[in-house]
Amino acid sequence: MKIRGKKVSIFNLTLFLIFSLVLTACSPEESSGGGNAEGTTEITFWHGATDISLQALKKMVAAFEEKNPDIKVKMVYTEASEGADQKLLTAVAGGNPPDVALFDRFKVGTWAAQDALTDLTDMAAADDITEDIYYPYAWEEANYQGKLYGLPYTTDSRMLYYNKDHFEEAGLDPENPPKTVQELEAAAEKLTKKDGSRFKQIGFIPWYGQGWLYGWGWSFGGEFYNKETGEVTANDPKIVEALTWMADVAQKFGVEDIAGFESSAGSGAMDPFISGQISMKVDGNWTISAIEKYKPDLNYGVTPIPTPTGTDFTTWSGGHAVIIPKGAKNVEAAWEFVKFFGTEEGQEVYFAELPGDLSVIPTVNEKLGRGDNPMLKQFIDILPNSHSRPVIPEGQLMWNELVDARENTVRGKGTAQENLDKATEAVTKALEKYK
């Protein structure tokens, strides 16, 4: 019995030792967490950047700290996209969010409606930051119900890529790419090569890459959401027309089932456009860097997404914003950082390191000579006419509903009208509770 008692106490002792070790290991970090030694404030900054974007971010943070010696930025990596969203979500819900975070602008509406983002309207007004310096769509996407919830920084756009060698082989003029959807269809017909039931070369798949219904809908002149009345208009006749056209093209070339090919959208060298299996595709500006990396000698061109009339070219853009989550401890210092990164000064430092990326501020793109790259220039030139997806609390639902509508229509399950009516109804119904 005695022996056992001794054993227990030894156990207790070890347990105690382990605990105290763990605690001491923790404590230094705790004390530095507050970090206001000699009047400096430390702000926590969540980002998902790796590789060269991380380098760019670090340069930008260094420039900020140099300018604001009283603020220290603690950069914390949280994995990109979905995982980061969940972390931020739980951090905000738990009342312990970071001071600043990078955030997909697409989600501003949803999160603002949930009261999870700090309203920046007054701070921006006090510091004279207005929409004038940004592309209109980018500013719009950072606002929800007349209030500003973040400052945008990156953007992108979508264009039609086409393989010039394939054009020549098929007897098409590589310097005169299709402008109207009819021309596009005709080119696709010439470019599609079949060997029995198997494709040797696919001319065009409307929804492949970044050919989302959003892009085609706007190119056909439709509008998905009425900002004035708050009505969802995904069944706009022009959008119905766009979707009907997509389904027709799919059936004409028998590509409705090639979606598997779409989901296997190989990254890098496996990309079917890069490997020459597909002749034309709609994709974003980042593809330029991918082609440069994996097949620099690919003879290709880019042109705006064709429209029914061959005029009024447009596209849509996404990108990220810098936000302050609701419940952040150092809102003032955080705003200084958001302001720096969200305006010319910070963006010049940041984008100087990332030659393939586009800023939401036209003058920054100009200053950094983005237009010198003839491919990238096309993507920049269209930005003033670009669209951003509607800023509504149910943005993700609307996205999913539009994907479903496209899938079902293309596969002959209901007409474009029926499926878009259904999507409109579903999103409208979901939006009711926010009214």
């Binding site: 949930q114 039931s197 089932d257 598997g260 989901s263 296997s264 190989g266 993700q396 639902l397 899938e407």
Partner: protein
Amino acid sequence: MAEVTKGTRIQPSVGVKQKKLSTKSNLHGWLFASPWIIGLLVFFAFPLIASIYFSFTSYSILQPGEFVGFQNYHELFKDDLFWKSIYNTIYFTIFFVPLSIIFGVALAMMLNMKVKGMGIYRTIFFLPTLVPHVALAVLWMWLLNPGFGLINGILDMIGLQVPNWLGSETWSKPSLILMSLWGIGQSVIIYLAGLNDIPEEFYEAAEVDGANWWQKTRHVTLPLLTPVIFFNLVMGAIGAFQQFTLPYTMTQGQGTPANSLTFYVMHLYDNAFKFFKMGYASAMAWILFIIIMSLTAVIFMTSNRWVHYQGK
């Protein structure tokens, strides 16, 4: 700890002093188990119970929401995608679980043969299990690529009509089952252990009685393997109902084509974390729990008819 309590229970004539000790050592036992107990209560039991309550509210994680009674459940039954996801999930379970048992047992029996270099074969069949789901998804998407994939290339060469696999609504789920079957190494290991547990004497006795290979398999191997099959059946069914990572990464969360790969947990996840409908998602989670529980109960009830334990 278990031994100590057992020990004290067996001795009925314990003195006062010893009783004190036993409560004290009980206390120590609880103390040592407390990290686990606290973890279980705080991170498991509490959220579990709380989610029952949440399923009756419009909780959105960020907003506490209101009590809405059975509204979430009502809405669920009217949600087309909910039914579609149930259909997809049941389809997957019905085909995948039996197939995984058939292939698993067959593989295990082959890998149990006394052949030189068996360790290498076993390793080869286990290796796919180590491939992360995301990598597995990418790999198979290329193999099954309808236009340019290897599998269709071979099928086409021998003149077969090739399906569009992941691109076609009819073939997407069978493709997924195929991909999942590739990773059954884990259950094969369990079957192998089960096979090794069958005493050699039974086979010797059967041989003396003149049984051939099929009779030995049918009357010795399979009956004595039933406890292991039973285990894999239960675990496989539970796992199949929770299918998530593979289809989610493969379709970027969209369940394409035409929602034929939208599984129950994917729909649940979207509602909870993308549409901020945690209350709705909690209701879904409880329905899934009831489905899995009743299925497991049915399997357990039938088990004494077909599961044979050794030494019984």
